[in-house]
Each structure stands twice: as structure tokens, then as C-alpha cells.
Subunit: 134 residues, 2 copies
DNA sequence: GGTAATTAGAGTAAAATTGTCTTAAATTAT
DNA sequence: ATAATTTAAGACAATTTTACTCTAATTACC
């Protein structure tokens, strides 16, 4: 799966948040969107760390958007939530057993790297506005 | 991960097989490419079932290509090896807890479906020749 | 017939994802 | 100030997916 459930939850939350007048709390989002609360809280925290959301603590706290939806890319969201860009493949994991000693003599490495770049570019080109509409 | 290790093993094997004069056996491929034998055997079986490889049993048996490399798409390979097309996302899994009762009122479903189609088209447009060269 | 190879299916192990819990820190309202 | 509310952080547990193994059967060559 290129995009995990966590990212799907993030997209749904971001759509809810941008439609909300006041800060939306984790509990509220959890109930409205039927997403496990503690899990969602983590996701929202990650979005806040990466400057996609602003978090407000205390009573009447919650989350609001930090940027316009056209200025938030899918690449940013995925990276924030999953802790790394969406990966197409990962032969780097077993580079130690690679019979070609890494990418140097690998027949498929150049292709896969290129493919990854294409997906990255696609994700960077898509804004939250593209996804959830204006 | 859009493409699993099994598909990577398939690509490496296909490259080896197409360079080989005689049928390449699972054991040989396993040793040359440093891939666990039993795991690889399953992958090769799947490629054979989906008419990408021809399998020859018995002594001097092994696998040979069934088509030209320009006529084998990455989509075919992934589908054969992983048992389904490469998935971009999967909210269908938890459709029962979806607050929008499935895709009908979902804010992100149209986008995700569209995104999936783009990836499918990309995978269908790429031949094995594109990946491993002529 | 005997050996070399694939086929088939169940089963195990490891890793990643998803989800929970508990405690602390910050902010607001009273 | 104090209580109530809400985020922050981190450890932990459950689930799912991926990766891999094993055994027995089948097929084909010599």
C-alpha cells in the first residue's frame, strides 16, 4: 500500500478541520470521522510538528490549518504522517545480501529509482485542494 | 510499499532468465541472485500461472520467458506475484466503520480512486524492456 | 526405475501497521 | 489558585501484511 490508513485519516481530518470555524479537537474528529482517538491524536501531532496544523492546548483547544489548502502537498502530508516519503520499493533494506553489492551493478535499480522519482513528483504536484476540492 | 520484495525478486529473476540460454531453475536463480529458494519458487510459479514464464519440469527443467520482454508489463508482473494489482490505498477494508457509508459521501474517495487509476496506467505503460533495457 | 525438477498447500517467523494506555504539560475558565 | 480541558510523549499490545519454510506430491528426463 503506497498510502497507509494513517494518511487516509489525515486527509479526512484535514478536510474536516478546514471546514470548521473553531479549532477541532482530537476527540471531536475521532467521533465525527469514526477514527480511533489515540491513533488519530498521534497523526494530528505529526501534522502539527511538520507545520501543516497549528495545535492549541487547553480548554477550547484543538487543531487548525497552518497554511492554505493549495499550499499543502500530498507529499508533505504523507511524509509528516508516515515519517518518510511514500516508498515505491525498498531494496536498500537487504543491501547486505545483494549479489550486486548495492545498486552499482543492479539491473533493476536504475529503473526503480526513476520510478520512485516519478511517484515523488506526482505527490509533490498534488495539493490538498486538488484532493478535497475548493 | 507499492512494490514488495517478491516483485523485486521477480524482476531480477526475469532479467536473469531472459539472458539465459537454457531454462533457469529455481535453485540456480536462488543461488545466483541470493534469494531464498522456497520463496522464489512460489514467485516463479505465480509467474508461470499467469503466462509470463513457461515452466519445464524434470531434469534440465526450469523457467523460460513466454513472451517478448516488450510485451510483458509491470502491471502483469505485480498482479501475478502479489495476487492483485499494486494498491495505492485501501479504505474498502474498513468500509463498515466509514462514517460516510462507503464512497458515496466520502470527501477523499474520488481523489483516491483517480490516483489509483493513474498508478495503474503507469504500471500498464511500463514493459519489462523499459525496466531492464533491451 | 531413478533422479531432477516443478507444484501445491499448510504453516511459521518477522516486520510493519494500527491501536491502546498512562502520565505529563499547557491553556482556559471559574 | 484551582479545576477542567485538551494536547504531548512514549511505551506497549494487537493486528495485519510480508517474508519465508517445510513437506509431500507430481511431472519429465535419462
Amino acid at each position: 500500500m503506497l498510502i497507509t490508513r494513517a494518511t487516509e485519516y489525515a486527509l479526512l481530518s484535514l478536510d474536516y478541520i478546514r471546514k470548521s470555524d473553531s479549532p477541532a479537537g482530537a476527540e471531536q474528529l475521532s467521533e465525527e470521522l469514526n477514527i480511533p482517538k489515540s491513533f488519530l491524536a498521534k497523526i494530528l501531532q505529526n501534522l502539527a510538528k511538520k507545520e501543516i496544523l497549528v495545535s492549541k492546548k487547553g480548554a477550547k483547544g484543538g487543531f487548525i490549518l497552518q497554511k492554505k489548502i493549495k499550499d499543502i502537498t500530498l507529499f508533505e502530508i504523507v511524509t509528516a504522517v508516515e515519517g518518510r516519503p511514500a516508498m515505491v520499493f525498498d531494496c536498500t533494506q537487504y543491501i547486505d545480501t545483494c549479489p550486486n553489492n548495492g545498486a552499482k551493478n543492479c539491473t533493476i535499480s536504475p529503473f526503480l529509482t526513476n520510478f520512485q522519482k516519478k511517484i515523488d513528483a506526482l505527490l509533490r504536484s498534488l495539493s490538498l485542494e486538488d484532493i478535497i476540492g475548493e
